[in-house]
C-alpha cells in the first residue's frame, strides 16, 4: 500500500485463502465423486491397478474426501471471508499493522503446510480412526497453532477496531473460534504409543507418530459425537451464517430484515446446539436419558435455525426481482432455503422412532449432503463471487456461466439427496423386515442389489456438482483478467460481464 495514499483494505491474506479453497475444493469434491462411483461400481476401487489398490480403495479415500472438503475447502473459505469481512465491518485495514499482517500470513502458510501433511498422511493410511479427527498427534499440535494464530488475528482486528459494536457476523466468527478450540482439544486428548507400556510390559510400542485416545468405549463415543456434531455446528453452520449475514445484505443493498432476530437466533443456537450431539448415539450403550436429551435438543434446534433462515429470506422482502436477475443472489437464497430444509430434516432424523429406520443408512449421507452442497457450498460460492470483483478490481467474467453453474449444481444436489432418501429408507426397511418367527427377510447383499441404481444416480448428482464447481473456478480465473471496474460499481450488486 502507498503510505501517503488513502487508507485501503488489504485483501492479500484473503486472496491466498480463496485460492486454496478453490484448489482443495476441486480435489476434495473429485475424490468424493470417485468414491461415489466406487459405491456404484466396486471394480473402480482398483482404478489405478491392483498394485496401487491400497491408495485407491474407498476406505483410504473416504477420510481424504471428508477432511479435505471440511477442513480444506470450507475452512479456507471461512478464513478468506474472515480476512475480508473482519476488516470491513470493524473498519480496520490489515495494512495498518505489520504484526496483524504477519499473523495472517503465518496463519495461511502454516495451515497450507499442515494441510499437505494431512493429505499425505491420510493417503499413507496414518489415522487415529476417529471420524473427522483422523489426524495423528503431531498434526493435532499444528492445528492448535493454526487455531491460535486465527484467534490472535480476531483479537487484533477487534482490538484495533473503529466500529465500537461487533456486527452479528463477528459474533458468529468468534463463536466458531471458541467452540472449535474446545472441541479440538477435548476430542484429541491422546497418548503417543511410544510413551505407553503394553500389558505385556513392552515399551516404545508402534510408530512415533501414532497415538491412542485417552477415552475408551462409550466415553470415547460420547466425546467423539459431541465433537462430531458440533463440528457440523461450528464449521458448517456458524461461520456460514456469519458469511450470509454480511454478503446477502451487501450484495442486495438491503438491511437485515430484523437485527434483533439475528441476536436472538445467535444466543438460541449457542445454548441449544452443544447438547444435540447425543442423537448420533441413539440405541447405543450411552445412558438412555442422554439419548433422549440429544433428541429433544435436536427438535428445539429448529427454532434458532429457522430464526436465522427466515431472517435471511425476509431480508429480500420487496426485492425479490433480484433473485431472478442476479445469479449471485440466487445462490444465497437457495442456500438459505437448503439451510431451512436440512435443519428440519436433521431434527426429524433425531426422533427415536424415525432414527430406528434412518440410523446407519444412506438417508444420513443424503442429509449431510443437502446441507453441505446446498447450504455450505452455495454460500461459499456466493461469498467468493462477491469478494472477487472487490479483491481484483474487475467484474465477474461471465453472468451466463454463473447461471449455468447454478442450475447444473442445483440439479446435482437434488439428484443427490432424492436418491439417498429412497436408498436410505429402502435400506432401513429391508434391514428390519422379518417373518412371523423373527427371521430376517433379507440378507445384506439383497439391499446392495436393490440400491445399485440409486448409488448410480447419487454419483451422477455428485459429478454434476463437481462440473459446476470447475465452471466456478474457470469463472474466477477469468475474472482476474476481466474488465477493470471503478469503486462506485462495487457498492452493492457485483458487476458482471455477459
Amino acid at each position: 500500500m502507498n503510505k501517503n495514499g488513502p487508507l485501503e483494505y488489504d485483501y492479500s491474506v484473503s486472496k491466498l485463502f480463496i485460492m486454496n479453497a478453490l484448489f482443495v475444493g476441486a480435489i476434495g469434491m473429485l475424490v468424493g465423486v470417485i468414491i461415489a462411483w466406487q459405491m456404484a461400481y466396486p471394480g473402480l476401487n482398483t482404478f489405478l491397478g491392483d498394485g496401487l489398490a491400497e491408495y485407491t480403495n474407498f476406505s483410504r479415500l473416504r477420510p481424504l474426501h471428508t477432511d479435505s472438503v471440511i477442513y480444506g475447502f470450507v475452512l479456507s473459505a471461512v478464513w478468506a471471508t474472515w480476512y475480508y469481512v473482519g476488516q470491513r465491518v470493524l473498519k480496520v485495514s490489515m495494512a495498518e499493522s505489520k504484526t496483524l499482517m504477519l499473523i495472517g500470513k503465518l496463519h495461511f502458510w502454516i495451515y497450507f503446510v499442515s494441510a499437505s501433511l494431512i493429505v499425505t498422511s491420510l493417503l499413507l493410511g496414518w489415522t487415529t480412526s476417529k471420524e473427522y479427527a483422523e489426524f495423528e498427534w503431531p498434526i493435532d499440535l499444528a492445528i492448535t497453532v493454526i487455531w491460535l494464530l486465527w484467534g490472535a488475528s480476531i483479537a487484533g482486528l477487534v482490538g484495533f477496531r473503529r466500529e465500537k459494536s461487533l456486527y452479528i457476523s463477528i459474533w458468529y466468527y468468534i463463536a466458531t473460534f471458541l467452540a472449535i478450540a474446545m472441541l479440538h482439544l477435548f476430542n484429541n486428548m491422546e497418548i503417543p504409543t511410544i510413551l505407553a507400556t503394553s500389558p505385556a510390559g513392552e515399551t516404545m510400542v508402534g510408530a512415533w507418530w501414532h497415538s491412542v485416545s485417552m477415552y475408551a468405549g462409550t466415553n470415547d463415543a460420547l466425546v467423539q459425537w459431541w465433537f462430531g456434531h458440533n463440528a457440523v455446528a461450528f464449521v458448517f453452520t456458524t461461520p456460514i451464517i456469519a458469511m450470509i449475514y454480511y454478503f446477502l445484505p451487501k450484495e442486495s443493498g438491503q438491511a437485515i430484515y430484523s437485527y434483533k432476530l439475528s441476536l436472538l437466533s445467535f444466543w438460541g443456537l449457542m445454548f441449544v446446539y452443544l447438547w444435540a450431539g447425543g442423537h448420533h448415539l441413539l440405541y447405543s450403550t450411552v445412558p438412555d436419558w442422554m439419548q433422549t436429551m440429544g433428541s429433544v435438543f435436536s427438535i428445539v434446534l429448529i427454532l434458532p435455525s429457522w430464526g436465522s433462515a427466515i431472517n435471511m429470506l425476509l431480508t429480500m422482502k420487496g426485492e425479490w426481482q433480484q433473485v431472478a436477475s442476479s445469479p449471485l443472489i440466487k445462490f444465497m437464497v437457495l442456500g438459505s432455503t437448503f439451510y431451512m430444509f436440512s435443519t428440519l430434516e436433521g431434527p426429524i432424523q433425531a426422533i427415536k422412532s424415525v432414527n430406528a429406520i434412518a440410523h446407519f443408512t444412506d438417508w444420513i449421507v443424503g442429509h449431510v449432503h443437502d446441507g453441505v452442497l446446498g447450504w455450505v457450498g452455495f454460500i461459499v460460492i456466493a461469498a467468493i463471487y462477491h469478494m472477487s470483483p472487490r479483491i481484483f478490481r474487475r467484474e465477474i467474467y461471465s453472468r451466463s456461466l454463473m447461471n449455468t453453474q447454478f442450475w447444473i449444481q442445483t440439479l446435482g444436489v437434488v439428484l443427490y439427496f432424492t436418491s439417498m432418501w429412497i436408498a436410505g429408507i429402502t435400506q432401513g426397511m429391508m434391514w428390519r423386515a422379518h417373518d412371523e418367527f423373527g427371521n430376517l427377510a433379507y440378507s445384506f447383499i439383497d439391499t446392495v442389489t436393490v440400491l445399485h441404481p440409486y448409488y448410480t444416480i447419487r454419483a451422477v448428482g455428485g459429478t454434476l456438482y463437481l462440473i459446476g464447481f470447475l465452471m466456478f473456478i474457470y469463472n474466477i480465473y477469468k475474472t482476474t483478467s476481466a474488465r477493470r471496474v471503478e469503486e462506485d460499481e462495487l457498492q452493492n450488486a457485483s458487476p458482471m460481464g455477459a
Binding site: L7, Y9, Q87, K91, E163, I168, S258, Y259, L264
Partner: protein, 67 residues
Amino acid sequence: MDIAQLQAYGYFIMTAGLAIGLYAYIYHLYSKRKDADGVDYENYSNMALRDDVTDTPVNDASSDKKK
C-alpha cells in the same frame, strides 16, 4: 432427597430459568429498541451496508475515549 431428585429439581429450575431469561431478553430487545449506547439495534445492519474504511462508524469506538 436423593441425588436423582436433586438432579430433577435442578434440571427443572435450570430449564424454567433459561426460558424466562430468553423471554425477558426478547421483551427487553423489543420494548427498549435501543442498547446502552442509545443506538437502535436495527441501525447495526448499516455496519455491513456502509463498510468502506472511510465511512462513518455506526457507533464510533473513539467516542468512548473522548468522553
